[in-house]
Symmetry: C2
């Protein structure tokens, strides 16, 4: 019943509405970043905390891979892991993120040692990996659909970082440029799998909740970052 | 302490001894296969049951992948999944196994539907996947070290199948030819990881047990196969 074209369309609208209401572009730290008011220390804190998220992407994707039901789906999904981990020939997303870390003046060793990763970041990202390990694959795939909302943000972010934070070496922005093409490709097949597979209202509800949960993960990383470093010269993000 | 060269050497000997004592080449069904006495029905039953093992290899490897601690290790390990699932350009191990299924006269649809997969096969293989999902990565990697014992067996098996079962289309043996090169490569780095990482006696014990467990999985698949189809014209494998 819920697989009918109308209910499928309604399901897709529910998923897209999650981005409109709670994607992390609306977080005060993120808004401050795009206004160009973040200090170097705040940008560095964000990059160092977000590294923990980047590092766990292939872990999360391998957990999902191990639940996918057929090799056609695995052949698609495995490219996410290769994109992020890289190969002998191609730099992966994690290396690109370390390039950003160097470009904002962080030492790679310090980033890898995770000394600036705050507990709130760790708890949120670990919860995301746990979801991928324990939930049905369609629910876990639905949680990845924040990629539907990412490309617009990435395009804007590249411009903002290049113009409002000219002290960041532009080569460091390679990560975001990669995502401009990878995110739409990945979001397209992930969305089609979710729409095809989640044909009961219960499963559709679980998918919507998983996508909300993922938005909460990204939001919590920014909460932890803002609590530690503030969000602008007056540290207005630091409440209490 | 246990990481010292002598104890490391002793650990490697313990691992290799597992193969000598309980690798499945010593199973009566396997011995009958290599004596050339299996009927077509028995060969078909073996191929159909073993398909369930083949199918779960990438699932098991993705579970291990999701526990590996760094991207260098993941870049190595991920090739196992690509080798088995294949890609748009290259046939994978599962497809090669389906080629063997056709070569012995099975219908691919029947193999895929798993109608001939017996519960004993399913329980054993599922237990292997569960080990990969739940155990520390070094223990799960140790369980894969049956590959240390495989190449000799593969070389012999190709010869046996080609000469003693001439009714099998020789193209169907591509799977075993692949394994001749892939298994030693995969076993070599897996062994080096295990020797490097398992530096306490407790962890070494757990690794040895995991390898014994894996031998038991392969053995149980042959038990289930022999119980269902016998092992030779007199069905001497069927006891009671």
């Amino acid at each position: 019943m819920h697989g009918g074209p109308e209910l499928r369309h309604h399901f897709e609208e529910r998923l897209r509405a999650v981005g409109a209401s709670r994607y992390h572009d609306k977080h005060p730290f993120h808004r401050a970043m795009h206004e160009g008011v973040l200090t170097r220390e705040q940008i560095r804190g964000w990059v160092a905390n977000r590294y923990y998220y980047q590092k766990n992407i292939p872990v999360k994707d391998a957990a999902i891979l191990s639940h996918l039901p057929d090799r056609e789906k695995r052949r698609r999904w495995i490219t996410r892991i290769i994109d992020q981990d890289g190969s002998a020939e191609h730099e992966g997303g994690i290396e690109s993120w370390l390039g950003l870390a160097r470009a904002v003046g962080l030492s790679e060793a310090q980033v890898l040692a995770e000394v600036e990763v705050h507990p709130g970041t760790r708890f949120a990202v670990d919860a995301y990996v746990t979801l991928a390990r324990t939930q049905p694959w369609v629910v876990a795939v639905a949680s990845s659909l924040t990629e539907l909302f990412a490309p617009d943000l990435m395009a804007h972010r590249i411009e903002v970082l290049a113009t409002k934070y000219p002290w960041i070496d532009e080569h460091g922005l390679a990560y975001f440029r990669r995502r401009l093409t990878l995110a739409p490709r990945d979001a397209a097949y992930a969305l089609s799998w979710v729409l095809e597979e989640a044909t009961t209202l219960d499963l559709q509800d679980a998918c919507v909740r998983a996508l909300e949960f993922k938005c909460d993960v990204l939001w919590a990383v920014l909460d932890a970052t803002m609590a530690a470093y503030g969000a602008g010269p007056t540290r207005q993000g630091r409440i209490g």
